[in-house]
Subunit: 150 residues, 2 copies
Amino acid sequence: MSETGLILDRFIPYRLSVTSNIVSDVISTAYEALFGLSIPEWRVIAVVAEQDGITQQAICTVTRMDKVTVSRATLALVDRGLIDRAPNSADRRSRLLALTDAGRRLYADVSPKAIEFEARIFSSFPADELDRFMTMLRAIEDRALEVGTL
Amino acid sequence: MSETGLILDRFIPYRLSVTSNIVSDVISTAYEALFGLSIPEWRVIAVVAEQDGITQQAICTVTRMDKVTVSRATLALVDRGLIDRAPNSADRRSRLLALTDAGRRLYADVSPKAIEFEARIFSSFPADELDRFMTMLRAIEDRALEVGTL
DNA sequence: GGAAGATAGTATCATTCGAAACCAATAGGG
DNA sequence: CCCTATTGGTTTCGAATGATACTATCTTCC
């Protein structure tokens, strides 16, 4: 289909970036349209839903998002009354995040939709191929991190 | 290693985005440091090197970059004397791009380095796995485009 | 052949993103 | 205990990005 220059076309970092951008775009426009959530916001919600009382710092390490990004997403969610921040007696610099009732309701709404969107793109592939693909993604991630810090 | 929340962790769009970002980051800092090239600039150079006399529009379709991005990258490269724009007698709105001598020299320099960087990350994987991975990326790309426009 | 769209490319603007500066609080030696 | 170094989080700022508007040319169709 795409009659590209040879080098770029088979250049893995390039292909990875193109594919990732297209997928992100599809997903993010869907989230935005349906729930008014940006991708960082959706990620924060997902993590907090699964680990009640997590701190922003922990969200950063777990999602590899920048702390600025997490901060902004969290503030927006607090503003919208979807997340609560309780004082953390163990360390008063941070707060413990939790979903509010509204947040839980939204999450119950969003989460199946997310799965559904994913399915819309990926369900046409056999499960074992997807598994191999994911394994590969993780391996590449680890390797790139290694190379980046050498 | 990363003890993430279940949903996000196995969510393909998320994994794809994380991996792509890390790889892009490694690659782009290397380009920037070695040649003062941004990723869009490197892409434009690569395409023009392989297809002399291409137009910006053609670069857009071939690389899926935005036309604004291509315009900026091209202007920067023209400024640096790496690319020439000859009038296009067939359509005077566009110009025909070609590498200058300096551009060719730079490309001769950059291109093996690019391959080398790629190798540094990916050569640890068996070739057939990489092939499957690339095939999968393309298939996902096609599928996502389909879904996006449905 | 000329008016009405489409298209190549550039300029403008608003948004996003992350690096670095910053503030508050904690940790850890002396 | 302080004094310094670190860390959690926010603010600020500059760079990159992409949607939109704009200009010049081309195409179409009457």
